[in-house]
């Protein structure tokens, strides 16, 4: 399979030769590495001293977490297919992939809401223990990023359908894949290995 960023020629470039918008997204993600990574490493450090967290973690819903992982991995596939379609000038197909990606993001949010309701009604609130504080802080921050991604995909999808700024599909895609990567690590930390 061969792809080319057909729209790159119209994008302004920084001195590095990388289009400015794409470089900006990578800098943004570098800062996000510190935010999410900071939460993850502090959790790991605390967990080393609190083996009793394993008991708390048994009450997370592993099936829902695994289902949401499948949903996000699939949404990454549809997102990269949207980018590939844009590169080939197939904007209608790209629009369909973007809609599918946003819908999968919506499914992720619904499943997460189901989990929250189930856990809260069982008494596992953010103040129950330090584990649950970490759980809600990290999954809540991640869910906010998913929500932001859904909004961005819809806005950029609208621009693309109007024939404007089609190169931004790649940018929102890079962001969306990052959100997927964060979940790739959150899932085993909170659901499988605690």
């Amino acid at each position: 399979m061969t792809t080319a960023s057909a729209t790159a020629a119209t994008e302004p470039k920084a001195a590095t030769g990388v289009p400015t918008g794409r470089l900006a997204i990578w800098w943004f993600l570098a800062s996000e590495i510190v935010i999410f990574g900071g939460l993850i490493v502090t959790y790991v450090l605390f967990h080393l001293r609190h083996p009793e967290w394993s008991e708390d973690a048994r009450h997370t819903i592993s099936g829902a977490g695994a289902a949401n992982t499948v949903v996000l991995l699939t949404s990454s596939l549809t997102m990269v297919l949207a980018h590939a379609a844009v590169a080939r000038g197939m904007l209608e197909r790209a629009g369909r992939y973007l809609s599918l990606t946003a819908s999968l993001g919506g499914i992720f949010m619904v499943v997460k809401a189901f989990e929250y309701i189930h856990e809260l009604t069982d008494g596992y609130t953010p103040v129950k223990s330090l584990f649950w504080s970490f759980y809600y802080a990290r999954t809540g921050l991640h869910a906010l990023h998913v929500l932001g991604g859904i909004v961005a995909i819809n806005v950029i999808g609208g621009m693309m359908r109007a024939g404007k700024n089609v190169h931004r599909v790649e940018y929102v895609g890079i962001y969306w894949h990052f959100v997927d990567i964060v979940w790739i690590f959150l899932f085993p930390l909170l659901y499988l290995t605690s």
Binding site: S31, V34, V70, L73, I174, P188
Partner: protein, 98 residues
């Protein structure tokens, strides 16, 4: 890289094949969680998570074909994270943990 447009023209594996690998790795992780040897299972699960993240970064985010400068930007994020980690570790593990 196309010298005129600056665009990345490259060949890469099928996106769908990569998705299949990601899903298989996910189910392998879920299976490993059932092992009785918890420590070994945790190590293997995080090795698989790292492989999944690498596949997404390299092939879906196309970092594999970006100029080296972009990889340095990502590395800067991880360097800042490492500083945070080693800065916090004494407080959390040796002070708070007592």
């Amino acid at each position: 890289m196309d010298p005129k447009s600056g665009a990345n023209s490259h060949r890469h594996p099928s996106y769908i094949a990569i998705w299949v690998v990601l899903i298989v790795a996910l189910f392998a992780s879920v299976g490993l969680a059932l092992l009785h040897q918890r420590r070994l299972a945790a190590i293997l699960i995080f090795v698989l998570a790292t492989i999944k993240a690498f596949l997404v970064i390299a092939y879906y985010m196309h970092l594999k074909w970006e100029p080296r400068f972009v990889a340095l930007v990502v590395a800067a994020g991880f360097l800042a994270l490492a500083i945070l980690f080693f800065g916090l570790m004494p407080d959390i593990v040796h002070v708070y943990g007592r």
